[in-house]
């Protein structure tokens, strides 16, 4: 009985030690990753961790998001477009544009982990009809 207890304690100790080690190793790794893959200000403000958008435990396997993933929070293409309805009149609503209507994917402009790019600016000077991409 005594030996059994001793063995069990040893097992418990080893298991807890190794999990502590993993946690300790993982923490700085996560912090490092989050420093590398920063969020845009409007999302950073919300204090999101990676798993708010990416699925799974292993950051190595995180995939870039599809528009449909964005819409789980943002509702629908129509809802996003409606927020900029005042731009419709001049056909400059980027979410309901002259060229693409509602069919533009989010990542065409909104890169979360790097500086966003303004697709419209590929051909247009947008100073008078558009803000910077948030």
């Amino acid at each position: 009985m005594k030996y059994l207890l001793l063995i069990m304690s040893a097992i418990v100790a080893i298991v807890s030690f190794s999990s502590v080690t993993i946690a300790e190793e993982k923490e700085p790794e996560l912090a490092e990753l989050m420093a590398e893959y920063q969020l845009r200000p409007h999302h950073r403000k919300l204090k999101f961790e990676c798993v708010m958008c990416h699925e799974g435990d292993d950051p190595e396997e995180y995939e870039p998001l599809e528009t449909e993933n964005c819409l789980t929070c943002h509702g629908s293409r129509q809802k996003v477009a409606d927020r900029l309805k005042f731009m419709d009149e001049n056909h400059t609503n980027p979410h309901n544009s002259f060229h693409d209507g509602l069919d533009l994917d989010c990542y065409e402009c909104h890169a979360e982990h790097e500086e966003p790019a303004n697709l419209c600016q590929e051909c247009h000077t947008t100073d008078n009809w558009m803000n910077e991409v948030p």
Binding site: K79, M87, H124
Partner: protein
């Protein structure tokens, strides 16, 4: 009359006056917190108009209508509510009367929405929201769990931090643009 009795009677009279005026005050607070009242000031017209398009403004199956004060005043305690209500009342009357409200840059102010909408207000109606275990959109369970976690960590986010268009049907910016356009649209010629 005995002096002690006199003092007692006076304090009782004062007390009754105080409680009576509290009743009147709470009626006044009640009547001055809805979109009808708030929207009667010129500067609040876009807010009242877009509110009526929103679920919270009556655009729902149940004919439910919230009041401006339900979201835009803190609901932690009656005292806090009253203090904020008083401060807003004084501020709003002053600003509306003595300053040019057309100068206010409401579009820019939307950045600080966290300060104008109180999660305690949201949660005093949506009391059970954070404890839900199933939802039409399962993503909401994850994000609401995040809200709770941040609250417990003492590093809270607000309901409107995510629900940026709530209460005004996502149309407030558009409505404000009718009064003061963000863009001139003066030159949309192709550049290269």
């Amino acid at each position: 009359m005995n002096k002690k009795v006199f003092i007692f009677v006076l304090i009782v009279i004062g007390g009754l006056l105080g409680m009576g005026s509290s009743l009147i005050i709470s009626e006044v607070v009640h009547v001055t917190g809805n979109a009808e009242f708030c929207g009667s000031c010129h500067s609040m017209e876009p807010m009242a108009k877009t509110f009526k398009l929103d679920t919270h403004g009556g655009n729902n199956r149940h004919g439910f209508v919230a009041e401006c004060a339900d979201c835009h005043l803190p609901h932690d305690s009656v005292l806090g509510y009253m203090i904020d209500k008083t401060a807003h009342g004084i501020n709003d009357v002053f600003v509306e009367t003595f300053t040019d409200v057309d100068e206010i840059d409401w579009i820019a102010r939307r950045e600080n929405r966290d300060e104008f909408v109180y999660s305690s207000g949201c949660l005093s109606c949506h009391q059970g929201l954070l404890d839900k275990t199933e939802a039409e959109n399962p993503k909401s369970l994850q994000t609401h769990a995040h809200y709770k976690k941040q609250l417990e960590k003492g590093d809270p986010i607000q309901c409107v931090s995510c629900h940026v268009t709530v209460g005004h049907a996502g149309q407030l910016r558009t409505e404000l643009n009718k009064l003061k356009p963000e863009f001139s649209f003066s030159d949309s010629t192709e550049s290269h």
